[in-house]
């Protein structure tokens, strides 16, 4: 039986790695990948905490599956946008893409 704290440490570390990567990298694809990391960190925590639920309810696991589905959709849309940006500008650097500057 693995202690819950291991799972929490893993989830938090994974999330911190994802957040760091998302904020540091300038490549749009890498940002997307880091976002996936963060989502998966959340998934681990959801599943881990789900074990605390006394009646053996599956809400935590189901929620993790939902997050995966949404993450897949998000990745598809995000990659499509990145593809368009690359086609139009020839670069994938998000710092050079400030169309919405006020």
């Amino acid at each position: 039986m693995i202690d819950l704290s291991y799972a929490i440490v893993l989830g938090v570390l994974l999330f911190a790695v994802g957040l760091y990567g998302a904020l540091r990298s300038s490549n749009a694809v890498r940002v997307l990948m880091c976002i996936e990391l963060m989502l998966n960190a959340v998934n681990i925590l959801l599943v881990a905490f789900a074990r605390l639920n006394p009646a053996g309810a599956v809400a935590g696991q189901v929620f993790a599956i939902f997050v995966m589905a949404v993450a897949a959709a998000e990745a598809a849309v995000g990659l499509a946008i990145v593809l368009q940006i690359v086609r139009q500008r020839g670069v994938a650097e998000i710092d050079k893409f400030t169309l919405l500057k006020g």
Partner: protein, 673 residues
């Protein structure tokens, strides 16, 4: 017979002509006259056909029409009836109207409102034809008022000048007084008898179904309309002034047809008048008085048309007198003959004024040689009016005198004789002053010429009727017209009516139903009538044709009477003082009230509104606009400040997002622990 079943065509044709002339005014141009004349001539032919058809079926009336509208329990019927009276009137109206239409083509030539003139003339003819055909008082009233309108329009044909404009107004207003009475009378009869149908009301009145007071009041109110339209005293004042209109209009409307409509109304409602002897008595009194009254005024008028106008008033009074004493046939017969010769006289007056450019008889004289056709036709008309046998006027006048004699009212009879004398006198005066003697205005005389054929043609045609028109009613024709018009047949229920007479003319009414035979019963009337006419001509000739009687001396001797007659009994002055001036004063008072109080109130409200609007506007400008602009500029300033946060850099957004989330979490945790 087709025409009797479709008698509506007769008034419809001139109506159609009016519509065509009105709508194609510009395109038609002077051809409008041809449209109008063609329509009226066709109506004349159809009227003749209808007359013959009716004679052929023995005078049996033909009624056409049907339900007009239903309002709940009230139903209104509209119908036309061709009976002996209507058939005769149709002939008279269409003949005179045709003559006047043709004559007007010459007389009105070059007038600036030529088309309008013919259009209105057509409308008038249509209304008059409809009036004589109406079988109910509602339709009759409609036609009656349309005629009044046409009269107004045609008197005021030259409305640029003051005189015609004011005369048209006077005519309209004065007749309106009578029309109001007539309207009330019609409604009174309707509410009591439950129908507008003339024959039905007559039957109800004669059969005793209506209360005697209702019958008398209804008859007198109807007579009020007739007094206005037929210019009887005291509403006679409009007719002489109506001479301001074009002369053909005077001939058609103010001599032959419209003014006779009042007489026709009394004749058409005769059964109602008979059922109330008192009403008949009033008719006789008013008629007799008007006849004498107007004849005396006519003796001193110096305007050609005004002499004829007063003569018309007088002769209409004569017809009323004839009807009033129970002489139904006599009154209608005189209406017919008078229409012919008075239209003729007016048209000759037009011919003279066309040639001379004036109607002042003291500037005429000696025209007999210059205007031969006009002179001879005028002479025929004048003799017919004066009552010289065998011309038309003699026979009808004689009938009236016989009826007056037979009624037993000696005063009325002698009034009628005096009128006959005066008529002959003033016609002789007119004839002598216009056509004989030396010309008094040489300039005008030199320019005088005979009128064109289109004008003399109708004169000759009417002369034939003025000469021969009385023969169908004369003893030589066995009183054929009298038998044809015979009252009893045209109004069923007379036998019952004569039984109900509670007035003073039972004898006269009895005479009326035997009018044809009456002439034989009244021996002394014929010599008296003839004597009065001849005496009138003789006196007239002595005064104006010779120097035997010095006019100046007579005038000086009879100065009060002369002034009274010359000023037309001061009736106009009296009305001016009693009605016109108080009305104008009241109007001025109301005007003052309007100007000061009403206008003051209105202007005050306007001023207050304006002031309020100004202050409201100020509030709008300062407070409302200020608030709106403040919000707008605040929004702009906020936007300007906040735009800096929008770098467009995704990573900075992300930092903000996670920093925010972390901060929120921290606050949450801090709050929970």
């Amino acid at each position: 017979m087709f025409i009797l079943e479709h008698i509506w065509i007769v008034p419809a044709l001139p109506l159609a002509s009016w519509l065509v002339i009105t709508f194609f005014n510009r395109r038609l141009g002077p051809r409008a006259a041809h449209v109008g004349t063609a329509a009226v001539l066709t109506s004349l032919l159809l009227s003749v056909a209808a007359f013959i058809a009716l004679v052929a079926r023995g005078g049996e009336p033909v009624t056409t029409g049907g339900r007009w509208l239903t309002l709940g329990s009230v139903t209104l019927d509209m119908g036309l009836v061709v009976d002996n009276l209507a058939a005769v009137m149709l002939l008279v109206v269409s003949i005179v109207s045709s003559a006047v239409h043709i004559y007007s083509m010459g007389y009105m030539h070059g007038d600036r409102r030529y088309q309008r003139f013919f259009g209105t003339l057509s409308l008038f003819t249509s209304a008059m034809l409809l009036l004589v055909l109406a079988d109910n008082y509602l339709l009759l009233l409609i036609a009656w008022e349309v005629m009044g309108l046409c009269s107004y329009l045609l008197i005021g044909h030259w409305f640029e000048e003051d005189w015609p404009r004011m005369a048209s107004m006077k005519a309209f207003m004065t007749t309106r007084v009578g029309d109001v009475a007539m309207l009330i009378g019609i409604f009174l009869l309707y509410t009591n008898a439950g129908t507008f149908n003339i024959a039905a009301i007559t039957k109800a009145a004669a059969g005793g179904a209506l209360a005697p007071t209702v019958v008398t009041a209804g008859a007198l109110l109807l007579f009020g309309g007739a007094v206005g339209k037929s210019a009887q005293f005291p509403l006679h004042v409009w007719l002489p002034d109506a001479m301001a209109g074009p002369t053909p209009v005077s001939a058609l409307i103010h001599a032959a047809t419209m003014v006779a409509a009042g007489v026709y109304l009394v004749a058409r409602s005769f059964g109602i008048f008979v059922a109330s002897g008192d009403a008949l008595f009033v008719v006789a009194l008013i008629g007799g008085f008007t006849a004498l009254f107007a004849a005396t005024i006519a003796t001193l008028q110096t305007d050609f048309k005004k002499v004829l106008a007063y003569s018309t008033v007088s002769q209409l009074g004569y017809m009323m007198l004839g009807l009033g004493v129970g002489g139904y046939v006599a009154g209608t017969f005189h209406l017919v003959t008078h229409a012919f010769f008075k239209a003729l006289l007016f048209l000759t007056a037009g011919s003279v004024s066309h040639a001379l450019g004036t109607l002042e008889i003291h500037r005429m004289g000696g025209l007999a040689g210059k205007m031969r056709v006009t002179f001879w036709t005028f002479l025929a008309g004048a003799l017919a009016l004066a009552g010289i046998p065998p011309l038309a006027g003699f026979w009808s006048k004689d009938e009236i005198l016989v009826a007056a004699w037979g009624s037993g009212w000696t005063v009325l009879f002698w009034m009628a004789v005096a009128t006959a004398f005066l008529t002959a006198y003033y016609m002789t005066r007119l004839t002598v002053l216009v056509f004989f003697g030396r010309p008094r205005d040489h300039h005008a005389y030199e320019h005088a010429h005979e009128s064109p054929r289109v004008m003399t043609g109708p004169l000759v045609a009417l002369t034939v009727l003025a000469v021969l028109g009385g023969l169908p009613g004369s003893p030589w024709a066995g009183h054929w017209l009298g038998h044809f018009l015979d009252f009893g047949r045209s109004l069923p229920g007379l036998e019952a009516a004569t039984g109900h007479v509670h007035g003073v003319f039972a004898h006269g009414v009895e005479l009326a139903s035997h009018a044809a035979g009456a002439a034989h019963a009244a021996g002394p009337v014929l010599p008296i009538a003839l004597g009065a006419a001849l005496l009138g001509i003789l006196v007239g000739y002595l005064v104006y044709g010779t120097r035997l009687v010095r006019r100046e001396r007579v005038i000086r001797a009879l100065r009060p009477i002369y002034l009274l007659l010359k000023n037309k009994y001061y009736v106009d002055e009296l009305y001016s003082a009693v009605f016109v001036r108080p009305a104008v004063g009241l109007a001025e008072l109301c005007g003052l009230f309007d100007n000061v109080v009403v206008d003051g109130a209105v202007n005050g409200v306007a001023w207050a509104t304006r002031e309020m609007a100004f202050s409201a506007g100020e509030f709008d400008n300062v407070v409302v606009d200020g608030a709106v602009n403040g919000v707008a500029s605040g929004t702009v300033a906020a936007g300007r400040a906040l735009r800096r946060a929008h770098t467009g850099n995704v990573r900075s957004y992300m930092v903000a997002l996670y920093a925010g989330a972390a901060a929120s979490l921290a606050v949450l945790v801090w709050l929970l622990i």
